[in-house]
């Protein structure tokens, strides 16, 4: 089954410099590749670039900023193919940002055709 690992962390929470962090993410992604379970994943531009939109009564309204102001922000994600939640959690715990942020793991909903 597929799980989305959502990476939440404060944008200034990194415990190492950017270069080291990127290198750590590279190592992690190599592990994912070897295991053959990565179905996608990206880092997101910082929260200052967020724009939100909602449509009410047919009118769209664009708002500067994120959907919710929180201390920890969604900074990226991985889409993983895993046997079960335990396996997904094990991989999620290896995501470098798990050290200082929080990884939320959710199964991808499957619709019957």
């Amino acid at each position: 089954m597929q799980f989305l690992a959502l990476i939440y962390a404060g944008e200034d929470q990194d415990d190492v410099d950017m270069e080291t962090l990127i290198a750590q993410y590279q190592v992690f992604e190599e592990q994912l590749d070897t295991a053959g379970i990565m179905h996608g994943g990206n880092a997101l531009e910082p929260i200052s670039t967020a724009t939100s939109v909602r449509v009410r009564n047919g009118q769209s309204k664009v708002i500067d900023g994120p959907f919710a102001e929180t201390k920890e922000q969604l900074g990226g994600y991985y889409l993983l193919e895993c046997k079960d939640l335990d396996e997904a959690l094990e991989w999620a715990a290896k995501i470098p940002s798990a050290r200082y942020g929080t990884i939320e793991v959710r199964p991808v909903m499957v619709f019957d055709q």
Binding site: F3, D84, L85, V110
Partner: protein
């Protein structure tokens, strides 16, 4: 509980664990088992009860499960169906349809029910419901909460197991330490329920007690961790007193009046061994402390010669690890038995807010008041205790005690 209900409860855990393993859907498994029980309830009184009731229920419930999976017509179910049908074919290949052992998947299920992705309260409630076949109202009582809350907790937990990808597996060794405490707590509560169950005819539900003891022994074999050993020892000590807890004329005999020659020395010996083994780890924990308290009772020749000062110290240490008004109450009782009745009484009274709906609190007050010759207060407290108990055996016992108090006063 009638005979059929007793059989259903005794078999339900094992059957349900197997069905859940196949279907990966606890609700569906429970529905299938429910259907099988209904079929049994209409067939058995006419055709007679089969010799292997577990295998009968397992087989019929499995067929019901297949029907239910087919009805759902979901692509996800195709593989499940194939596997379960294969297993059914193997089963019916045996000499007679019901001459086989229901495979024991309970350990798998207990770890699933106690998965950290569920909150702890849900873990315990779910395990009691699925593995032990306890009714929602019994769980509500064990938890001092409402039936509606427990029902909702269980429904949510089942849904999360199904939808969040929680597996039906025993965790790998590196995850065991995280997953263990809630499993132990669950086993502990199962045992607790077994000897205070309020609806059964007898105060000791032997099946449940041996179920809990058995599960704890399996855990000892699997992970000889100090608290696992402590819990197993604790339950063996309690279980060793099973025969002396009631007699032909007395349905309930409290520890202080028990005939200690009935205590099962083999179980006590095994429990002492577990404690010794646990102590070698030098990591104190609540189950080990409680087991140590039980060990002192097991060692004592009589209630009067019990080492109460030592028990008092152990309860203090337990209270430190696990602050709770119920433990504070037990500490108070130990203190009184160690000689400080007046001091213990004021300690216990300070718990009235937290424990006003807790029957043993009022029974303990009555005991202390009687010792302090406050007979009117004692009568009042024991009446409160009688009003709070839902167990007819407990009620009779307390009414008798009230009679004695009235005589004394």
């Amino acid at each position: 509980m009638n005979n059929l209900a007793r059989i259903f409860r005794a078999e339900s855990g094992k059957v349900l664990a197997s069905l859940a393993y196949w279907s990966r859907d606890l609700q569906l498994a429970e529905d299938a088992l429910q259907d099988a029980c209904e079929q049994a309830a209409s067939k058995w009184p006419i055709q007679g009860v089969p010799s292997n009731t577990g295998a009968w229920l397992h087989l019929v419930a499995k067929r019901k499960l297949i029907d239910k999976l087919r009805q759902q017509q979901s692509q996800k179910n195709d593989q499940k169906l194939r596997l379960i049908e294969e297993s059914l074919y193997v089963d019916s290949d045996t000499i007679a349809e019901t001459e086989y052992e229901v495979p024991d998947e309970r350990l798998r299920l207990i770890f699933t029910c106690c998965h950290p992705a569920l909150n702890e309260e849900a873990q315990v409630a779910l395990t009691l419901r699925t593995l032990c076949g306890l009714e929602v109202r019994e769980i509500a009582r064990a938890y001092l909460t409402s039936e509606a809350a427990i029902g909702q907790r269980i429904t949510r937990a089942k849904k999360k197991i199904r939808d969040a990808g929680i597996s039906y597996e025993v965790p790998k060794s590196e995850q065991l330490s995280v997953r263990l405490p809630s499993v132990l707590k669950v086993i502990y509560l199962i045992y607790n329920e077994s000897y205070t169950a309020y609806q059964g005819q007898s105060l000791t539900r032997l099946d449940l007690a041996s179920e809990a003891v058995r599960l704890s022994l399996v855990m000892v074999k699997l992970i000889p961790n100090p608290e696992v050993l402590g819990l197993a020892a604790l339950m063996l000590f309690h279980d060793s007193r099973r025969l002396s807890r009631c007699s032909d004329v007395e349905p309930y005999i409290p520890l202080e009046q028990q005939d200690r020659s009935f205590w099962d020395q083999k179980q006590i010996e095994q429990a002492n061994q577990f404690i010794q083994q646990a102590l070698q780890f030098k990591q104190r924990g609540p189950y080990q402390i409680q087991a140590a308290i039980s060990a002192l009772h097991a060692k004592a020749k009589s209630w009067e010669t019990t080492d109460w000062p030592q028990i008092q110290l152990l309860y203090m240490s337990l209270l430190q690890l696990q602050p709770s008004p119920v433990i504070a109450l037990n500490l108070g009782i130990a203190k009184a038995n160690a000689g400080q009745v007046q001091q213990a009484y004021s300690d216990v009274l300070a718990l009235s807010g937290a424990l006003q709906h807790y029957q043993p609190y009022h029974a303990a007050c009555a005991e202390l008041e009687s010792r302090l010759l406050l007979s009117e207060k004692a009568y009042c407290s024991i009446s409160k205790a009688i009003g709070l108990t839902k167990n007819s055996i407990e009620r009779d016992f307390l009414i008798k005690k009230r009679g004695l108090l009235a005589q004394k006063g």
